[in-house]
Structures are given as C-alpha cells and as structure tokens.
C-alpha cells in the first residue's frame, strides 16, 4: 500500500493542488486543463483502489477490512463530488473547492496506509 504508486498519487495531487490554488488566487477562469487534471487524478485513484482491494484479498494480515475499503472508496468519491459541486459556481470559489479536493487526497492516501498498517483504531 505504500511504495511508488501511492507516492506518485500524492505528488500529482499536490502539484494539481498548488496549480489550482494559484489559479484561484489569480482569479483565472477555470478551463479544460482543470478538468483534465481531475480526470488524471481520478484514474490514478481507481488504480489505487483496485490495487488495494486485490492486495487486501491476497493477504492474511490483521486488517480493519471494512474501514480499509471505505477509505479507498472515499478517496474515489471526493474528486467527482468536488467537481460537480464546484461546476455550479464560475467564480474562484468553485476553483477553490477543487483545490480543496486535491489537497485532501494525500491525506486520504495517508489514512488508507495507516489503516493498512493497522495504526488507526
């Protein structure tokens, strides 16, 4: 659950977050690039969720399985929900909503890893 794939998602999410925050601060209108970055992140997250569930199925280790799957699905749900909600507002507030979704993704990845390691009760 750790390793280069999770690190890649974290880096991508943070880069997207920084860029989106700059866009919001500069009051730039949102464009296709923002949508594309969200799509890339979501595809990465789908891979993470599938990989996580496959790994979970193949291990005997002590693990809060329900919680683990819930966190993986939570990761997946956040970007689409943020985009749907953000798209209703053309102002920078909409862009900020997407930045928030990008920012929270690394935290969610970290929580997934903590549940995997069994340190979250």
């Amino acid at each position: 659950m750790t390793g280069p794939y999770a690190t890649t998602i974290t880096v991508v999410a943070l880069v997207c977050a920084a860029w989106t925050l700059i866009s919001a601060a500069a009051n730039r209108p949102r464009g296709v690039a923002l949508l594309a970055s969200g799509l890339v992140l979501e595809v990465l997250l789908v891979g993470f969720a599938i990989g996580g569930i496959v790994q979970m199925a193949g291990t005997d280790q002590e693990l809060a399985r329900g919680e683990f799957v819930m966190y993986l699905l939570g990761c997946l749900a956040i970007p689409p929900a943020a985009f749907v909600w953000a798209w209703g507002d053309r102002s920078r507030a909409g862009t900020a909503v997407i930045a928030l979704a990008f920012l929270i993704t690394p935290v969610m990845i970290l929580r997934v890893q903590q549940v995997w390691a069994g340190s979250v009760g």
């Binding site: 329900g66 507002d89 928030l100």
Partner: protein, 142 residues
C-alpha cells in the same frame, strides 16, 4: 441574536442571499468533507465495537449528523434551511467546545477519539474554527 427579522434592516432584501454561493460554495465543500469524515468514522465505530466507548461513539454519531445537516442546509440556502443550518452549527459549536474541554479535563471518559476530541486537534483544529465561520457566514448572507 434577538434581532433576526429582516424587516428591521433598512437595506433589507426581499429574501436572504444564498448561502451556497461565492465563499459559501467553498464553505459547503469543507462541511461536506467533515460530513464524510465524521460519518465514516462513526459508522466504523458503531459497527465494530460500540460497547468499548459508547459515549465517545454516540458523540461521533451526533457530530456526523450535525455535519450532514449543516452541509445540506447550507447548500440549499432557503429560509427553512437557514434556520436548520443555524441550529446545526450552534450544536456543532457547543459540541466542539464541550467535548473538546471534557476530553482534556476527563480523558477517562473518552478512550476513543471523536472529531471533536481535543478541540479537533486530529483534524488541524478545523472543527473548532468551522462553526464560527459558519455562523459568521449565515449572518453575513442574511
């Protein structure tokens, strides 16, 4: 808080401003995040070992409910929703202050964490700031 009537305001609008636009759009997103976090936390706690710490787990459930109600009502923003949001966020404020203080003074009662434990320190103290921002926003947009 006695003067909530719009008619006393000389610059009164015909209706309140929407609570889910502009900054409110962002605020609803933050509330939505906490609704998700608190709901999943309490679902796991209630499902796995409720008997271990019933008080903390019930408070987690209450917190989840409060965040969900606040998110939906702020997003909707009509008159009824504004009242509902005010009630939910007021409970949130009392909750985070009381649970925050109690978890520090009587740590024995809270063997398991809730969103509000230690004033929300596990969530970057956002749960402590959020109700103040929420109530400010409701006043600002009324």
């Amino acid at each position: 808080m006695a003067d909530l009537g719009e008619h006393s305001d000389p610059q009164a609008r015909t209706g309140p401003a929407p609570t889910g636009e502009g900054f409110g759009r962002f605020l609803v997103a933050v509330y939505g995040l906490f609704a998700l976090a608190a709901t999943s936390r309490s679902a796991v706690q209630l499902a796995t070992d409720f008997s271990h710490a019933p008080l903390a787990y019930l408070l987690s459930g209450l917190a989840a409910l409060v965040y969900v109600v606040a998110t939906v009502s702020l997003a909707r923003g009509d008159l009824t929703s504004r009242r509902l949001a005010t009630v939910a966020i007021s409970i949130e404020l009392v909750g985070v202050l009381v649970v925050g203080a109690a978890s520090l003074l009587l740590p024995g009662s809270f063997p398991k964490a809730t969103v509000w434990t230690s004033f929300g320190s596990g969530y970057g103290f956002v749960p402590l700031i959020l109700p103040f921002v929420g109530l400010w926003w409701l006043r600002r947009t009324r």
